[in-house]
Amino acid sequence: MTVPIRIGFIPLVDCAPLVVLHEMGFAREAGLEIVLTREASWSNIRDKLAVGLYEASHLLAPMPLATNLGLAGPRAEIVAPYVLNLNGDVVGAAEPLLAALDIAPGTGPEALLDGLRTGRLGRPAVFGVPFFFSTHHYLLRYWMAAAGVDLDARVRIEVIPPPLMTDAIRAGVIDAFMVGEPWGSFAVDAGAAAIVLTGAEIWKAAPEKVLGLRREWMSDHEEEAAQLLRALLRASQWADNPVNRVTLSELLSRDAYLGLPAELLERALAGTLTLTPRGHQATIERFLVFDTGAATFPWRSQALWFLDQMSRWGHAPDTATTREVVRRTFAPEIYRAALSPVGADLPAANAKVEGALEAPTPAASRNGRMFLGPDRFCDGRVFDPETPVA
């Protein structure tokens, strides 16, 4: 008997593990029927998951934290037992901004930060992000603050849905953006912006999207949930394999998913980006990661990092209570329970010091073959999840 699992997603390259789960038959083999629905907004996905119109969803990593902290949307308890991908985002700047700050396209981000810090624009620079509670929002703030930019005075953050980023640039509503692929490359190809930096250069191992489920549903469907995670792991491994890149980009290019040329999507999968309308290129190692380096493991420390950032900017308080809520949201114990029976390699710990690894480093694990990292932050600092509440 097949259990139908309705999953909402937003058209981004990182919906890949969900598409692969369905299209490559991993779900069917596990006796699950997946129904994927493309949504126009993150708010919608959040609400439909909360009220039970979806059993699971593509979510921005901070979203389940925001829901469980009661910060937005209908009350529900959402669990994130699986990370769908690390990174895969870009920071892009419109030609007018680059011109105003005298930045040659194709050069690094230092000049942009300098321009922002000194306020040379004469007004706050407006940056588009896909959603308030997004990895993009917190990475952007982290990056700019680390460079000494006064965010209150020099920057304004505006929420723009990813597919509308290019229109927003053209209309002059935003000067720059941080967005998930392919929407950055889309803007470059449209001649509207240049890619200045990737999210991976801000935090090398940032959790970008997670799989969200209602705790209530998971408790009533323990076995199906476990089957789902096992099938999803196989999908993530398939998606991460360079051998499948061309097939994957073809799959994602279908109208039901992204409806964009496969070549555009392949750039993010390979980490080979065209940075400017003139054709400057760059290859970024681990630009978008689906599986390797325990990428799918929902580290509690990642959730606590988001809380730390949310509290830094006044979005949520950092207390013993909120930390507990956040610890319960990312659910490594569910990951372990589901994937241990199939012999998946599991890290020995549920949390780690974030930002400590310069290069892939062997880590204690069940099968003894695990490498973690690199996971450096742009400012070289580390985040210790054990830091006591102030």
């Binding site: 126009a40 907004s41 708010s43 609400d47 119109l53 209908p74 929420v159």
Partner: protein, 190 residues
């Protein structure tokens, strides 16, 4: 009370505007586009916003109550935790309500209920329209297939329909599907 309705479907927006008018609310602004949404809402300064959940503008709207508490900001209807049934009904219908601070939530409930019922009625109408169109298209297809059979086999209309019906039964397919196959084949073979 001033209400903004954000709906990409003008027909539906009009029915909501009319229903609000009947309920005594005349100050209604309909936005069909989401360009510069936050700016325009600041200019219009509504007491409540009804929004089609299919609109990508929803995320832009949501950010308005994520911003600093210093600024007067809208509060989503969905913040009222006690009304889970209402929330589910609204999400299922595809409409959301955002209430600006100061407007009592009890005042927005009838407005949201009204919007939910209009959205549901519109969805039913759409579904009926789709079914009617599909039925009409099928009718036309079957007529064409009958015409082709009549010409090619020199039979009358009743016999042609019998052929269609028998083939459908023996192949366990719908008559419209058989008709389509005949029409396509005739196009290719001609």
């Amino acid at each position: 009370m001033r209400i903004v309705v954000i709906d990409l479907q003008p027909d539906r927006a009009r029915t909501i505007e009319a229903a609000l008018g009947e309920a005594g609310i005349d100050d209604v602004v309909v936005l069909a586009q989401t360009d510069r949404l936050v700016e325009r809402l600041a200019e219009i300064d509504p007491d409540a916003v009804l929004i089609d959940l299919e609109s990508p503008g929803r995320d832009m709207l949501e950010q308005m109550f994520d911003l600093s508490r210093r600024v007067r900001r809208p509060v989503a209807m969905f913040v009222d935790e006690s009304d889970a049934a209402s929330i589910t009904a609204a999400v299922e219908a595809g409409v959301g309500a955002y209430v600006v601070n100061g407007l009592r939530k009890e005042r927005i409930k009838p407005i949201l209920d009204l919007a939910v019922s209009r959205f549901n009625a519109f969805a039913r109408l759409q579904a009926e329209l789709e079914m009617t169109k599909a039925a009409l298209a099928e009718r036309k297809l079957i007529d064409r297939a009958k015409g082709i059979l009549m010409k090619m086999k020199g039979i009358d209309e009743e016999e042609a329909y019998t052929v269609l019906r028998r083939t459908a039964m023996s192949q366990n397919r719908r008559i419209a599907e058989i008709a389509q196959s005949i029409v396509i084949a005739a196009e290719i073979l001609n």
